[in-house]
Amino acid sequence: MFNSNESEFLKFSNVTKIFKSGHLKTYALDSVSFSLMENEILSVVGESGSGKSTLGLIAIAMETYNSGNVYFEGREIKKLKRKELRKFREKSQMIFQDPYESLNPFNSIYTSVSTPLYGFHSKMPYDEKRKSVIKILNDVGLMPATEYIDEFPTKLSGGQRQRASIARSFILNPKFIVADEPTSMLDASSVAEILTLLKKMKEQYKYSMLYISHDIASAHYISDRMVVMNLGRIIESGSSDEIVNHPAHPYTKKLIDSVPKLGEKLDNIENVNFIPKYINGGMKGCTYSNICPIARDKCKTERPELFDLGNNHYVACFYPLI
């Protein structure tokens, strides 16, 4: 998994990102290594505070990092020249979390969706721009596009706004997409809409995507491979089916058990206790050791490294569940 490979599209190698506030250091990423293949959807799963959004921002060169290297199509992102960086920006796009905030309420859908065209193809005539906006709106399911193109976001529902926002991300025909919790602000029924849409778009547009989410069920639905993060470290990675059906890390198991299930009764309501879990990462032992049900002394003093369980399933745990 960490060997260089020709179809490797994006590669993180030992990337560390530290946020400093006074003398307090927070390890948002703690030597993170993984790679994203061409035409692959890789999801990054973890709780809030696990560093998954920081990882997305670094991948798209909107955030710097302290040490390690990030390679995009074999070249180091940090060393890209101004023109190359502009090329990179054209090829890579982001889908944001909250469509109520990511679309300017004063701009019509045409203005919002066509903005990237004005930035990168400023010489394209207006008619052509309009045509490509209509085409992309049809592709994302805002049909008929002529009815939506001159509307303002206030007239659209949450799911429709997110579709418009996805249309803006796809108008330059990008090769790389970072989707940072694209469904967490939406209604349960719109979530299914957006996930099926992203999956359908992949057949048409052939892109690679980092799908960032705290919901392991939606990640399982959309992605081929998954990495699970806890406090800045990758603690498990492998194919989505493998991880969901045979989680090896106790934390992954907890994430899976937390997914709401229809008609399931809550069992643990008599002794609800506060679990102190706010730690800044960068600790000696396993990041999960202070709340892990199966932790032993070794977990607190020694850092577990990722090792192969077979089938490309990697886990960072001394006492894996399988």
């Binding site: 949450g158 349960a188 719109s190 299914a192 919901d215 709401p260 229809l262 309501i269 506060f274």
Partner: protein, 322 residues
């Protein structure tokens, strides 16, 4: 179980200069004491409006146009008929609320302790540190939390503080409006377990407003499905999830993303937001797969058995298809 709160023919209208939107269309609900009732619906269905209307908190441009909300305490009180002073004594002591996005509603510049003291002062209670300790302990937080500022707390802890604040005056009814929407799955489960435990510990009636039907099914005794300002189906949780009758409820249930549903989710076009605007007939007409011309004629509802109510004229068709 006796009824604790009855909503009768309640209608709410939002009026702007050029148009009128009815958010609630003459709804009737009886809440029983010591139950968890879930209000399920998409955004815009009127579920939050109902929560606010129960507290008589609807403010301009909204207006309660008809109906009454009766609290069955020692004597029956019509909340809509209370004046400002009476409301002030009534709110929080009898019915309290955890508002939507309330993680961000704590005052960022005062300590948690002072926010409790403010609440006690506003409702002329004894300002007592012991009471704060008691409330925090009940919500599973250590009592150091009272000396902290909100920015030192995680999202889940803030939500617990909010629920503890809502319980400060020992209310009989708690309205929780999307209490877990901005939280990740692990914390979401903690908050759900906590809410469910309150029902038994404090003999509380909880009105749980959510868009996620699988979450609702985990905690609720009864469910009310909202669509376009009407209750279109209601009944015991088990009855609704095992035997849904309204086509909209069926759709909601089919869109749940769980770890098992991965392969049977289909690409799905968004519902049109154009509800049937006429005052009679079914709002779901424009999107309904089994509509017939009779649907538009009059408002129809049928009680299938004691607890199961459905508003669908073609309910026989649904039953026979299954």
């Amino acid at each position: 179980m006796s009824d604790i709160l009855s909503i009768k023919n309640l209608s709410v209208v939002y009026k702007t200069s050029n148009r009128e939107t009815s958010a609630l269309k003459s709804i009737n609900i009886n809440f029983r004491s010591h139950e968890i009732a879930a209000i399920v619906g998409e955004s815009g269905s009127g579920k939050s409006t109902m929560g606010l209307a129960i507290m008589k908190l609807i403010s301009d441009p909204g207006k309660i146009t008809s109906g009454e909300v009766i609290y069955h305490g020692d004597q029956d009180i019509d909340i809509m008929g209370l004046d400002a002073g009476e409301l002030r004594r009534f709110r929080w002591k009898t019915i309290s609320m955890v508002f939507q996005a309330s993680m961000n509603s704590l005052n960022p510049v005062t300590r948690v302790r002072d926010q409790f003291m403010d609440t006690f002062a506003a409702h002329s209670m004894k300002q007592d540190d012991k009471m704060i300790d008691f409330l925090l302990e009940h919500s599973g937080l250590s009592n150091n939390v009272k000396n902290m500022y909100p920015n030192q707390l995680s999202g889940g802890m803030k939500q617990r503080v909010n629920i503890a604040l809502a319980l400060a005056c020992n209310p009989k009814i708690l309205i929780a409006d999307e209490p877990t929407t901005a939280l990740d799955v692990v914390v979401q489960r903690e908050i759900l377990e906590y809410l469910a435990s309150l029902k038994n510990k404090l003999n509380l009636t909880i009105i749980f407003i959510t868009h996620d039907i699988s979450l609702a099914s985990m905690v609720a005794d009864r469910m009310f499905i909202f669509y376009d300002g009407r209750v279109i189906e209601s009944g015991d949780t088990e009855e609704i999830i095992n035997n849904p009758l309204h086509p909209y409820t069926k759709k909601l249930l089919s869109l749940i993303i769980s770890l098992k549903s991965v392969n049977n989710l289909k690409f799905y076009m968004p519902d049109k937001k154009n509800y049937n605007k006429s005052n009679s007939g079914c709002s779901y007409y424009n999107n309904c797969p089994i509509r017939s011309s009779a649907c538009l004629k009059y408002d129809y509802h049928e009680i299938i058995n004691n607890n199961h109510m459905v508003k669908c004229i073609n309910v026989d068709k649904v039953i026979n298809n299954v």
